[in-house]
């Protein structure tokens, strides 16, 4: 039995004639310790999928099983890193992480909790900024706080919703390495949602494209057989990498074109000739 399983999941917003089918017939299974990436266009329903898995939303149809149990509401076992950081602006870095840790381990003493906070803030190398508020941090630093907050709860599975989407390329690369390092050390199951194919290939074991919505559904999966640890610079010369990358991009381009052609409508213009007013006045 898979660690996380989605069976024939549908998600519809609204009702009756106003219903929008965002996701339709999603089937996915993730094994323990696996790193899976889902790539898709923006607006294809990626965030909806994430919210279904972490328990913020309920599927309209179908079932979501986590370790064999249906997902009901959120759980500390599934840590989430949100797209827009979602740090509480009135708390400092340390307080943001502390709040999560305190909820995750209600039985631990204050001292132990502070130790955990310090450990994870150190892990994302933000110890000097521990007493700063999110407003005083750069985008990359904020996202690192979000990473620390999610990981400090020691979840069994990490769900990342375009965690690096808003960052510049350099910071992005650094954070990818950091997340991989932490994942490699603790070997948790991870689900990454991204719109960047390269990022997916660099980080994941498996890549599954999401065919864009409405009625988004998952496409065929691509296995990435590149040994870890992966080196970003060497990756460019790796034949395997190039092949997979081209295949995925080709697939995404194809569905993109498909969608475009579907959207094409022919408007017939009426055949008119201008009226002549010559000689009328």
């Amino acid at each position: 039995m898979a660690y996380l399983e989605l069976n024939n999941v549908y998600k519809t917003y609204g009702q009756g004639n106003h219903a929008t089918n965002v996701l339709s017939n999603i089937n996915l299974s993730i094994e323990e310790g696996e790193f899976v990436a889902i790539v898709g266009f923006t607006g294809s329903g990626k965030t909806t999928l994430v919210n279904l898995i972490n328990g913020l939303l309920e599927p309209t149809k179908g079932e979501i099983l986590f370790k064999g149990e249906p997902v009901v509401g959120t759980s500390h076992e599934r840590g989430v890193i949100f797209q827009n950081y979602s740090l509480l602006p009135w708390l400092t870095v340390g307080q943001n992480v502390y709040m999560a840790v305190k909820e995750a381990f209600p039985k631990k003493s204050k001292r132990e909790l502070h130790d955990i906070v310090a450990e994870y803030v150190e892990m994302v190398s933000l110890t000097p900024a521990i007493n700063k508020r999110p407003k005083e941090l750069s985008g990359g630093m904020r996202q690192r706080v979000a990473v620390a907050r999610a990981l400090a709860m020691k979840p069994e599975m990490i769900i990342m919703d375009e965690p690096l989407g808003a960052l510049d390329a350099l910071t992005r690369g650094n954070l990818q390495d950091e997340i991989l390092k932490i994942w490699g050390k603790e070997k948790r199951t991870a689900l990454l949602i991204t719109n960047d194919v390269d990022e997916g290939i660099y980080m994941a074991d498996r890549i599954i494209p999401l065919r864009p919505g409405p009625k988004a559904t998952l496409g065929p999966e691509f296995k990435i057989d590149i040994e870890r640890p992966r080196d970003k610079t060497e990756l460019n010369d790796n034949a395997n990498f190039k092949e997979t990358r081209n295949a995925i991009i080709e697939y995404l381009m194809d569905i993109g074109n498909e969608r475009k052609s579907e959207a094409q409508e022919v408007f017939e213009l009426p055949d008119v000739t201008p009226k002549s007013f010559v000689g009328r006045f």
Binding site: L56, T74, G79, S86, W90, A104, K135, M153
Partner: protein, 368 residues
């Protein structure tokens, strides 16, 4: 240098940024941009103050002339030529008995201001003398278990200010204690919100006078057996009830419109309901709650005068009313002095609230 930076920050924080420009004028740090700033923030406002006083002076003078002409005319038609001449001479001589009663000029108001201050000094000296005189007697009375004798003379203008401030703060605290918790509760529940909405919409526009009468009906019965100061109780409760609506509505709105991301965080962290309210919802709606409190305080100060006037509770309101009833030659100018004092204190109260708001809320927007 560092010191001046903190000074700048503090003044800006309190919404008194113009002080910085004034300071840079004296230290000679003024460049071209600074000079423009100086013109805009110091020179133009001061010029407009002078313009205002000038217009006031001219307006008061023409009103005075109209009133004087009317008086002479009246004497002429009722008592004849001779009486009119006497009246004209009397007005020109500045005699108190026949001065036209109209809008006082700035100079008269300034005189009245000084009179009020002198009066305050006299009463203060009186009080000190009274305390000295009764000190021994009071000590004896207290030792015997009797109430000490207190000063029961007329309060001075400054005493009235403090009485008013006391009433307004009591009313403000009442509004805070009622409106914030209720606002949070109705903000959290859509059902509650729609069920009490009609009540809020109906009571919000009710005039302070009606609130006063309502409170009077209730408090009169409740305090039947006690000999406590019911005028103070009535006025501060009315002030609180009149002014609490802004806070109530703003708190409910702030709580109802918390960023969905923060709610998601609370859900993912699995915060309990109490934790969710205190750690996420309240801090994020704090800016709106404070905006409401600022409005509440200024409304409280505004309605206070009318309420004191009607409830016959001591304070600036009754001062204004007594002066109006009094009809002495400088009554009008004393009323104008009270007007400026009321305005000035209202402005100060608003600045204080702004400073507190900036200190406690994460959303550091500059004040208006």
């Amino acid at each position: 240098m560092k010191q001046s930076i903190t000074l700048n920050r503090v003044t800006k924080f309190m919404g008194l940024g113009f002080l910085i420009t004034l300071k840079s004028l004296f230290t000679g740090e003024l460049d071209k941009e600074g000079f423009k700033n100086f013109l805009r923030k110091i020179v133009v406002p001061i010029a407009s103050i002078f313009l205002f006083i000038g217009l006031w002076h001219m307006g008061a003078k023409s009103l005075y002339n109209i009133e004087a002409e009317y008086k002479i005319e009246k004497a002429l038609t009722e008592q004849g030529q001779e009486a009119a001449e006497v009246m004209r001479a009397c007005i020109a001589s500045g005699d108190v008995s026949c001065q036209p009663n109209t809008l006082p000029s700035p100079a008269q108001v300034w005189e009245s201001y000084k009179t009020l201050l002198r009066d305050h000094q006299v009463i203060k000296a009186d009080k000190v003398a009274f305390a000295e005189k009764t000190a021994a007697l009071n000590a004896k009375r207290v030792a015997e278990g009797k109430d000490p004798i207190t000063y029961t003379g007329r309060p001075s203008f400054v005493d009235q200010i403090f009485t008013s401030l006391k009433t307004v703060f009591a009313g403000f605290l009442l509004a805070l204690v009622i409106a914030v918790p209720i606002g949070v509760i109705i903000g959290l529940s859509k059902t509650l919100r729609s069920s009490v909405n009609w009540l809020i919409q109906i009571f919000k526009p009710v005039s302070p006078v009606v609130w006063l009468l309502l409170v009077f009906m209730i408090v009169k019965t409740m305090t039947k057996d006690s000999n406590s100061d019911s005028a103070f109780i009535i006025s501060f409760i009315s002030v609180g009830l009149c002014s609490m609506w802004a806070t109530l509505v703003n708190t409910a709105m702030g709580v109802a419109s918390v960023d969905k991301d923060y709610i998601n965080v609370a859900k993912v962290l699995k915060l309990g309901p109490v934790q969710k309210v205190f750690k996420v919802i309240l801090p994020s709606s704090l800016p709106l709650i404070f905006t409401g409190l600022r409005i509440t305080l200024s409304v409280a100060w505004m309605v206070l005068i009318a309420i004191e006037l009607l409830a016959q509770s001591p304070g600036l309101g009754s001062f204004v009313w007594e002066e109006f009833q009094n009809g002495a030659i400088d009554s009008n100018s004393k009323i104008i002095v009270a007007m400026f004092v009321i305005g000035g204190i209202g402005f100060l109260l608003d600045r204080i609230m702004l400073t507190i708001q900036n200190t406690v809320s994460f959303n550091k927007t500059s004040g208006i």
